[in-house]
């Protein structure tokens, strides 16, 4: 543990960066609106990992302060509230994006973003 300690301390941040980059890469190369929406959701989940990692305290318990002595070490409850808000907000946007994609599919029969080249120049 003494050797792994510093490594583990950075592990969460590394995961967050990795997820963000994977999602971003997917967004750039995507050729399908649904695939694109999923990549967006992957990229957003990096913010959940980042928030959790920031609020994490080694050896901390869940931040429920009933039946525990005063001064008990607990993880930060604020980031969890932030994350929940984030999930709600992002779920709304994602639902909207998928709904728009479904509406595009109805008349055109395709989900390829390049199918409609009019929006250029």
């Amino acid at each position: 543990m003494s050797i792994l300690g510093p490594v583990m301390g950075w592990f969460g941040y590394g995961v967050a960066v990795w997820i963000f980059c994977v999602g971003l890469f997917g967004l750039v190369i995507s050729r399908n609106w649904i695939h694109l929406a999923i990549c967006l959701s992957v990229m957003q989940s990096s913010t959940y990992v980042l928030l959790l990692e920031i609020g994490f305290r080694t050896g901390g318990t869940a931040p429920v302060f009933a039946d525990v002595p005063v001064g008990t070490r607990a993880v930060d409850p604020v980031v969890q509230a932030l994350m929940l808000t984030d999930i709600v907000v992002e779920a709304t946007v994602l639902a909207l994006i998928v709904a728009l994609a479904v509406q595009i599919h109805r008349p055109t029969g395709t989900l390829d973003p390049d199918h409609l080249p009019e929006l250029s120049g």
Partner: protein
């Protein structure tokens, strides 16, 4: 009186919920009335807040969660005149959009009003909040409403694609902002802007640099700054006209407001010794945005897309005002923003009237058809000249303030950039006006891969409803009046208050702080008036040259072909493919972050 503070946010959202719940049995006119009533109520409340906040910036703690000492657990609204003024302006534009849409859409459905009110609530919240995380939440609330409004015509795939490009790029921006917020929370343990600023102190560490890069890029995506601007022209070209005026008039500028607010409340002290670097970087972004927007604007023949690129160009000028980091320059940006918002919104509504009448927004399709509407043509031309900074109106005063400050900072050459951009954008609008309302020049057949616009109303109409005239002409009149009103001193005070970092941090945590004062900048001199008049004349001349391209001598045709060779690659970059936009966005973030990390040590 502070009990008024949450109303501009709460009122639209509550009424939106009621309208959504009862949308099947409320008659259309009642929904119209309620929505318009809420927008007007917002205008009145915001005006009251603005007047109060000029002498006493208001801090309102939600649910009575007051701060203890320097620690704020609760969420606050920190209302200073800049925020209140923006919320007020958003209210005015929403009211104008609702009046215009009274008789515009054939079957609008109740959800249009609901979305407009959500949009208004989100914009008000973004302008008034004093909490960093809430800034993100309101960014997304106004975003979600805007995406839905952009793709409101669901039967047509093009608005949907524009809305998707808009939604995806802006959501990436929101994620960037949230990452920055998480990092700042990890460092300071605070979410209140004032408290973050205090805890961060004046120490400049890599984390502050990364956080600033991410959050400013997140908001600059909304502000459509090059290279984050690609979504804007797609979204504007396809969104319903009443929605366009909100996008162009205030939403894009709110993105810039976000950067201004965060910079001056949190980052101004750590970055204080490096102001020259920040100015150079932001001025570079502003110049790129101004020029790219102007050139692309001139290359369009779809009226809405043309106006959208002009918005990008003018937002670049507003960025220059912020970049100089001086109260007078920021005041110039505010004046510029107000008059640009009014004039651009009016121009969009004129385009909407054309679309309603002739079922097209293509410059060449409409060629000569506007001859029967001379009044509209006159107003259209006046709007274009306003955008070319016609003295003594608002864009002229604002630009003169920015340029004066630029001369003091050794950035006098910026004047050349803004002058060229004003001539190009106004020249493009005047050219379109001459084609449409005068029928001058040759009609070019065919569409060069341009967007076909689905009419928002069935077919052509023989007359334009009075509500549409009222909204459009009213906005133009308001813009003219704003330009003549003596706002220079007031805006400078407002800007000084917005840039008062120590004062904001103290007042944000309920401590008293003296109000700052800034010297009132001098009125524009004769030289500035002469140069602005010259830009108006140059715009008219440019429009004339472009209209009569059939009669050009050979050498002029050569120049034109050379310019085409320069513009074509630029047009090709605006590919309409969202993956490309994300790649540009990533590159922009990387460059901005790289430059900041390398230069700030």
């Amino acid at each position: 009186m502070t009990a008024l503070a949450p109303l501009p946010v709460a009122l639209p959202l509550i009424v939106a919920a009621l309208l959504a719940a009862g949308r099947h049995w409320w008659p259309r006119r009642l929904a119209d009335g309620f929505a318009l009533g809420v927008a007007l109520a917002n205008v009145v409340i915001d005006a009251r807040l603005l007047l109060l906040a000029r002498s006493h910036p208001i801090v309102y703690w939600m649910g009575g969660w007051y701060p203890r000492g320097n620690v704020a657990i609760g969420v606050s609204l920190a209302i200073d005149p800049m925020g209140a003024g923006l919320a007020l302006f958003a209210g005015v534009l929403v009211a104008a959009a609702l009046i215009f849409s009274l008789q515009y859409f054939d079957s609008v459905g109740r959800l249009f009003h609901v979305l407009m009110l959500c949009f208004l609530g989100g914009m008000s919240g973004f302008a008034l909040t004093g909490d960093l995380f809430n800034l993100f939440v309101w960014f997304e609330v106004m975003g979600a409403a805007a995406y839905a409004l952009c793709g409101y015509k669901t039967e047509d795939p093009k608005p949907l694609q524009g809305a998707l490009n808009f939604a995806v790029t802006n959501t990436v921006g929101a994620s960037l902002a949230l990452i920055a917020i998480a990092l700042l929370y990890g460092r300071t343990g605070a979410l209140n802007l004032a408290q973050i600023g205090q805890s961060l102190g004046s120490s400049l560490d890599p984390l502050a640099v990364i956080a600033f890069t991410f959050i400013s890029c997140g908001f600059l995506i909304k502000a459509a700054i090059v290279p984050f601007h690609f979504w804007l022209d797609d979204a504007h070209a396809v969104a319903p006209t009443p929605v366009c005026i909100l996008f162009s008039g205030v939403m894009v500028q709110l993105g810039l407001y976000g950067v201004v607010r965060v910079y001056w409340s949190v980052f101004a002290r750590p970055f204080g010794p490096h102001q020259a670097t920040i100015t150079a970087l932001l001025a570079g972004l502003g110049v790129a945005t101004t020029l790219v927007g102007a050139v692309m604007c001139f290359a369009q023949r779809n009226l809405k897309r043309l106006l959208a690129f002009s918005t990008i160009s003018h937002t670049g000028v507003m960025t220059l005002g912020f970049a100089l980091l001086k109260p007078a320059a920021l005041a110039g940006s505010m004046l510029y923003m107000l008059s640009h918002g009014g004039a651009k919104a009016a121009l969009f509504l004129f385009t909407g009237i054309l679309l309603h009448r002739f079922a097209s927004v293509d410059e060449m399709e409409l060629h000569g058809r506007g001859r029967q509407l001379p009044g509209l043509g006159a107003m259209f031309g006046l709007g274009a000249l306003l955008l070319a900074s016609l003295p003594p109106f608002g864009l002229f005063t604002g630009e003169a303030l920015i340029i004066d400050a630029a001369h003091e900072s050794g950035y006098g050459w910026l004047h050349g950039v803004t002058w060229v951009a004003a001539v190009l954008t106004a020249g493009a609008i005047l050219r379109a006006g001459a084609h449409i309302f005068l029928g001058w020049g040759r009609k070019q057949p065919g569409k060069r891969g341009q967007i076909e616009e689905q009419p928002e109303t069935r077919g052509g109409h023989d007359h334009t409803p009075p509500a549409m005239w009222a909204a459009a002409a009213g906005l133009l009149l308001v813009t003219l009046a704003l330009g003549l009103a003596p706002l220079r001193a007031g805006c400078t005070q407002i800007a000084a208050l917005a840039m008062d970092t120590a004062g904001y941090q103290a007042r944000g945590l309920d401590h008293p702080a003296p109000l700052p004062s800034a010297p009132v900048p001098a009125a524009p001199d004769g030289k500035a008036i002469f140069e602005a008049l010259a830009s108006c004349l140059a715009a008219v001349a440019l429009a004339g040259i472009a209209v009569f391209r059939g009669f050009w001598p050979l050498w002029l045709g050569g120049i034109s072909r050379a310019l085409d060779g320069f513009i074509r690659p630029l047009r090709a970059l605006h590919s309409g493919h969202v993956g490309d936009y994300i790649a540009w966005l990533t590159l922009g973030v990387a460059i901005l972050g790289g430059v900041l990390t390398l230069t700030l040590r």
